[in-house]
Symmetry: C2
Subunit: 325 residues, 2 copies
């Protein structure tokens, strides 16, 4: 039995952000249409951490995929990654194992691509200035996604420590091409930004409603648990809200769960899914002045569509290692 191994390095040689954004259309339409099998994920927890096993099958792709993610908070004390992930791929026609790939970059890529698609669909087309909160593992792909869909001249970076934002801007400068990357020391600059992406583990809002510009589009990819928060409820309640998957967002996303719990959003709150916008079932942005908010908690279908294409490219171009198992 042979299996293809794809490292982060190999995966970076396959899908571009532009391609990943295109694939997110398939993913979000499949999510809305329910044409994907995503069983409830399985968690096993011990004293040190949690393993999450997330299997999925998308009939239109050629693979079964299982993402195995570890979350071990104490690793940080030993300079080991708190989160790791690998994805096991089996062929959907024969069941044979086909690949094992790193899932950490895959996750960052598909999460960035989701924001990229939402930004393409919802942000004002003339947006030139953006802001990114968070300089962790998701930030680079979030930046790439913003750059892929809007002609940005300047992006401000917010981190809890200014030094982190400075280091990140320095690291990413080359990839950003002619766009200027600026570590932000004050939230005053938010009034210039037509696009804000939040990619943090924050439990309190990252800015105040009055600090953001008219007509801004916000992507929120943190706040994937009810107790987390990135965007102020004042903003969420006056914005047009879009989500990746309604059922998940209404249960897991703190930015939405909190104002629903407090009664500021109605109990029958029904934000549009991005798939509904793609299918023309719900409108996207309807005016230049509107505030739009895309809230994503992430879904296995995003992994599957990307993994299928990554594997297809890797097979065509003989990338990765083929090993006996």
């Amino acid at each position: 039995m042979k299996i293809r191994l794809l490292s982060q390095h190999d995966i970076r040689r396959t899908l571009t952000m532009e391609q990943a954004i295109e694939l997110m259309k398939d993913a979000f339409v499949a999510l809305t249409q329910g044409t994907i099998q995503v069983p409830v994920r399985t968690n096993i927890t011990n004293v040190s951490g949690t393993m999450l096993y997330k299997p999925a099958l998308m009939p239109s792709s050629s693979i079964f995929g299982l993402k195995a993610v570890s979350v071990f908070p104490g690793n940080a004390d030993h300079k080991l990654p708190v989160t790791t992930g690998v994805m096991l791929i089996n062929d959907s026609e024969t069941g044979l194992p086909r690949a094992l790939m790193d899932a950490q970059y895959l996750t960052a890529l598909r999460t960035g691509a989701a924001s990229g698609l939402a930004t393409r669909l919802l942000a004002n087309p003339e947006t030139k200035v953006a802001a990114l909160f968070g300089t962790g593992g998701q930030a680079a792909c979030q930046l790439q996604a913003m750059l892929a869909v809007r002609s940005l001249q300047q992006v401000y970076f917010f981190s809890r420590k200014l030094a982190n934002a400075e280091a990140f801007c320095h690291e990413q400068a080359e990839l950003a091409d002619s766009c200027k990357l600026v570590p932000a020391s004050s939230r005053d600059v938010l009034s210039e930004c037509g696009l804000i992406t939040a990619a943090t583990n924050s439990k309190t809002p990252l800015f105040a409603d009055e600090e953001i510009a008219t007509g801004v589009h916000i992507n929120g990819i943190g706040s994937f648990r009810p107790e987390m928060a990135e965007v102020p409820s004042d903003t969420v309640c006056r914005a047009e809200v879009f989500v990746d998957h309604r059922e998940a967002a209404l249960h897991e996303a703190g930015d939405i769960v909190a104002p629903m719990k407090s009664g500021r959003l109605p109990s029958d709150f029904t934000p549009a899914e991005l798939g509904e916008v793609l299918l023309g079932q719900r409108p996207g942005r309807t005016s230049e002045e509107q505030t739009t908010f895309f809230k994503s908690v992430g879904n296995a279908v995003q992994d599957i569509v990307c993994a299928a294409e990554i594997l297809s490219i890797a097979e065509r171009e003989s990338l990765g290692q083929i090993v006996d198992i």
Copy 2:
């Protein structure tokens, strides 16, 4: 990130059957004591087959393990394996991925080892002649297990086609050492056998109750679904029945489910678990004349204890391939 890959060939160089049988003690005690986390397995089915994902954590071992098994019946038409399996191992202290190993041989090994342990505990010590039904993927390890725990002089092999039994005896002759392997053309020889192992996909009993010897011990590892059957109900009802895991056996094992459904076994039928015998909570064989029946449907704890030891030996002896992922 680095991960160790262990092929079937590598695994064969680690655990012996004797070692695997010893490990089954830990496995069955853990099952009885409930000191293992085995979430419900996840199945995903499409038009071609089913993927089964079985995660488990045994606190006393150092690993999380996920076994991903494919069952694609149509593969037989294309000379591809109907069933394949791999096991993904993560470290229980850090969550980091540690290994991916072939799980097909692992499954056969741990299934054989379970029969070996049951035979050691339950078969008459002086047993010299045995029978094995089935010459499929499980047969070699079942034979090894019988040979490991009893000084057998002769083993009869039953297959639906005599030619298969002949081929199997030929293949295994060298490993069987001084024990004679005999393809069986008639069930008359069962009256000589103090030990019978059934490893088939049969849906009807493989022999009649009156064909077997007084004091025989039977291992049944087929009949893992309610509609399957290997051992006649007459035998099951008069035998002392032992199981790997009561809850699973009473729901899944056709050999037990059928006589319970027909009322021949009481609705509160409570066969002993092998773990209870090991812990001295229930007796094993109580007389030479007794018929004992060990019914196993298999459990993730058996995989985990073997995988942990396989990995430990492989790390110590630098077996397998270490690759970047």
